[in-house]
């Protein structure tokens, strides 16, 4: 029997039952490895369910720090009989199966080419605990204890984390530590060492471990959002919940104990976006968090906000499909529906953060951009970034930074006699001045409506007035190009005719694929697009490469369509490279696809050269 051997480079997957308390134990496992200085990237693969359905937690341990999903499983912790067969099948040859052998299993349920490690978890629990809930919860900690021995993990790191978790709840501390010891003692006494090992390293640095939804919520707090209106929808609900948590901590007036924020759980997405628009119109920074189906419901209001030029921020944590589609799976499939959201000629600013660090940054930036540009701004994250804890650069805030409230005409400016036309382009950048309601007794009031207006917000159905306004909106969009986060270029070690464009949560897999390709002698330059409208650098990148692969996590190549449509790119030069089964894209997939595509294109060029 071969045994997979690896130090600090393997994938371990936990197959659990939803609601069994496994999530916090599994997180403890991942964080313990981080505390040993070894990067990990865990991913929850979970059902739309609270209790009973299968759930998985896949942890990639990688000393080099690749945080994308690798694919393949080296060790399966199979705690769910419902998914046993599929789970066992998924293990790499020579890999390990860890399971509860309290009840005997027929030999047919195993494989010959994997290493089986049985441990009587249920028996141990039943012998130790009488309370059924304790039996279930501590079973999780016991297997973490056993794994820590098998993988040679530092028990101190785990105990320390448990102590931090139960700080102030000391009654729970001792039983947890006991369960951990129980697992460790059993493994030490009864189990054979295996080939996978965690070895202390120093590759985590000052990075933090946080999910993108919490990061975006914190970014909204730092960015000055005071109104959040939302409607629960997976995978975005934890944005509003985190905003609530952070506001309770940071936004309560210390003297009066009153809140400098308001969170309204609306009756639906139509109402949540309506509230955000009302607040934005009235000069507060406001946002909503939602997912694709929610954005669909908001369409009419988004159009109004675009034409009436009202600042607002929409955090779209993208998921797969509609209603009962794949709400708990990840995709980047709302790019077009957000870029062109609503009726009429509309285009919207989109930001594509790559990880929690950028979720924080971009959320704060989105609030500034919305005010500066007086328009809806979409923060396009997805389930993979939003709902998984990720190792990410620490959050940074410069205390000298000031909120950019954009062009707001004050009572003093009006009093000085400044001309006010709500939709008048005074600076040539397409951005007009606005006033907050209640500013001045006789100057600066206006009536907000859709498109039937002139530059002074007076009712008009005249064609030239309409054209003036919508042309100005295009100028404003042009202005936005230079204000949004600019793309990030990574050049291959050798000049190449191949380019790759990617965005958002594809980032960690792409970085790893880039290194793999370089090592294999396949050279590609890469450009990470961080926003729409596309800055000139995007067009230049495409122009300077013969073939550009556009890597996306959707079926239709939506960013590719946007590039073709907005930049007038020749469609034959931008080649879609798509992954859309709901699981996060992997470096293995990207590497393989790019190698095949470049080989085919090289062969084609060779043939063409011969013919010539």
């Amino acid at each position: 029997m071969t045994q997979l051997s690896a130090i600090n480079d393997f994938v371990i997957k936990f197959a659990n039952i939803n609601g069994s308390g496994s999530a916090s134990a599994n997180e403890l496992f991942a964080k313990s490895i981080l505390r040993m200085g070894v990067p990990v990237s865990p991913r929850n693969i979970f059902p739309s369910n609270i209790q009973g359905l299968p759930t998985w937690y896949e942890v990639r341990v990688n000393e080099q720090g690749w945080l994308g999903r690798r694919g393949g499983v080296d060790m399966m912790v199979a705690m769910n009989p419902q998914t046993w067969d599929a789970d066992v099948k998924e293990i790499e040859p020579g890999g390990y199966l860890f399971y509860d052998n309290s009840k005997p299993m027929p030999a047919s349920k195993f494989r010959d080419d994997i290493n089986v490690i049985g441990m009587p978890l249920t028996q141990l629990c039943n012998a130790t605990y009488t309370d059924p809930r304790q039996r279930q919860l501590f079973k999780n900690i016991i297997y973490i204890g056993a794994l820590s021995v098998l993988l040679d993990m530092d028990p101190e790191a785990i105990s320390q984390l448990i102590a931090e978790q139960y700080k102030g709840k000391e009654k729970l501390l001792a039983p947890n530590l006991n369960a951990l010891k129980l697992g460790r003692d059993y493994a030490t006494e009864h189990l054979q060492p295996i080939g996978l090992r965690v070895r202390r390293a120093d590759n985590v640095g000052d990075r933090i471990f946080v999910d993108g939804n919490s990061a975006a919520a914190l970014g909204a707090v730092y960015g000055g959002a005071s109104v959040c209106a939302w409607y629960p929808i997976t995978p975005s609900s934890s944005v509003a919940e985190a905003f609530q948590r952070y506001c309770a901590k940071f936004r309560v007036d210390p003297e009066t104990k009153r809140n400098r924020y308001a969170i309204v759980q609306a009756e639906d997405e139509l109402a949540s976006i309506g509230m955000v628009i009302g607040a934005g119109w009235n000069g507060a920074r406001a946002f909503t968090a939602t997912s694709g189906p929610g954005v669909s419901l908001m369409q009419e209001f988004i159009g109004l906000a675009y034409f009436a030029e009202i600042p607002m921020t929409i955090i779209n944590v993208q998921r797969g499909g509609p209603s009962t589609g794949m709400p708990t799976r990840t995709q980047q499939a709302d790019v077009l529906s957000c870029a062109y959201a609503s009726h009429g000629d509309t285009k919207h600013v989109l930001l594509f953060p790559e990880d929690p660090h950028e979720c924080f940054d971009h959320a704060a930036v989105a609030l500034d951009l919305a005010d500066r540009l007086q328009t809806p701004v979409f923060l396009m994250t997805d389930l993979d970034i939003g709902m998984n804890q990720r190792l990410t650069a620490p959050f940074v805030w410069d205390d000298s930074r000031r909120y950019d409230r954009g062009k707001v005409m004050t009572a003093e400016m009006l009093e000085e006699g400044r001309e006010f036309g709500r939709y008048l382009d005074v600076d040539g950048d397409g951005i007009p001045y606005r006033t907050y309601p209640g500013t001045h007794p006789s100057k600066g009031s206006y009536f907000t409506r859709g498109t039937t207006k002139n530059a002074y917000a007076v009712y008009s159905e005249q064609g030239p007035d309409y054209v003036y306004n919508v042309q100005r909106l295009l100028r404003k969009f042009e202005t936005a190009k230079n204000l949004v986060p600019q793309p990030v270029l990574a050049e291959a070690s050798k000049a190449t005719r191949f380019g790759v464009i990617y965005y958002g949560s594809t980032s960690p897999a792409m970085s790893e694929a880039f290194a793999n390709l370089e090592a294999a002698g396949t050279h590609v330059d890469t450009l990470r697009v961080r926003a729409f409208p596309f800055s000139d650098a995007v067009a230049e990148f495409i122009a300077s490469h013969e073939h550009v692969f556009v890597v996306e996590q959707n079926r239709d190549g939506q960013l590719r369509t946007l590039l073709i449509n907005e930049l007038g790119v020749d469609p034959t030069r931008v080649i879609p490279l798509l992954h859309f089964d709901g699981t996060p894209i992997t470096a293995r997939f990207i590497t393989r696809e790019i190698q095949e595509l470049t080989r085919a294109l090289d062969a084609q060029t060779l043939r063409q050269d011969k013919v010539a």
Binding site: L34, R207, I208, F209, L218, V221, Y222, G224, S226, V227, A229, R251, D253, R258, N259, R260, Y261, A262, I263, V264, E267, D268, L270, A271, S272, I273, G274, M275, V276, G278, A279, G280, W281, N282, G283, A284, A286, E300, F301, P394, F395, V396, W397, D398, D399, R402, Y403, T435, Y436, P437, G438, H440, P441, S442, S445, F447, T448, R449, G450, Y459
Partner: protein, 351 residues
Amino acid sequence: MTYIAKPKLHHPALQQNAVGFTRRDYEGKISTLCAGCGHDSISAAIVQACWEMNIEPHRVAKLSGIGCSSKTPDYFLGPSHGFNTVHGRMPSALTGANLANRDLLYLGVSGDGDSASIGLGQFAHAMRRGVNMVYLLENNGVYGLTKGQFSATADKGSASKKGVANNDAPIDTVSLALIMGATFVGRSFSGDKHQLVPLIKAAINHHGAAFIDIVSPCVAFNNHPGSTKSYDYVREHNEAVNRIDFIEGRSEITAEYAPGSTVDIQQHDGSWLRLRKVHPDYDPTDKVAAMNQIQMHQARGEVVTGLLYFEPNAQDMHENLNTVETPFNQLGEAELCPGAAQLAKLNASMR
């Protein structure tokens, strides 16, 4: 009418109110609605109420949905900011606006298509949230701008202009508002400004979700025999349960009425409402009784009007959310941003 600019010149001798504005300062653009439209009378009532209450016009925000009624905010309070939102969604936009600045007076103008059909949900939820606003439903039972379709408030059996009978039960907006938690519910008639103006004033003074259903006949599509929202029908069937005297400030009520014929209610800010009872046993502060009375009058085919329900010590959304006194739109970095030192601590907790 539409093309005539309204002259801005004021007669120098026009009377000013306590905050220095003439009544003309509370007017808006010239109405583009049909001559005789009930909605214009409501706009006039709003102008009168605000002027008499010494409200600075620019401290009012007026929001509306879509429809004839929702056009009217352009026709009153010119110095106020107005927002013509989308169909049926005035309540949510107003809720958000109110969150951003609690110091303004919020007038939400809506119609029966807007509030009873497409926006029924938003209407109901704004009431239950206690948004501090005056919600004016200009109710004519018909879709005017799309030329005469029934709305959801049209009475069962009432006939359209073309003689087609309506088969669906009407949505009774006042009962709905009451059930949904509105703390001020009234109904009036656009043709009765003596009732309407004090009712609007009392609603403005109310600290919470104030709802007034105003039957407002549509002269173009719903003012014929067979309609139950015509001028004639409403005049014949109007059954007022009380009359309001709104007394500003904390001054004593001096007018004399026969003993037992009035009820004085002190409001949250110390001001008084005097209700002259028309129906001696109608108590608008008793929610359950009010519901019964409304149903009873309506079962008799009456259009029941007046102050139907009133909770003098209502709580509004801001109190429920425990927000600061300072309007959110005046908070800056110092109040909103926790700063770099806190972020460093947070970073440390995430390792």
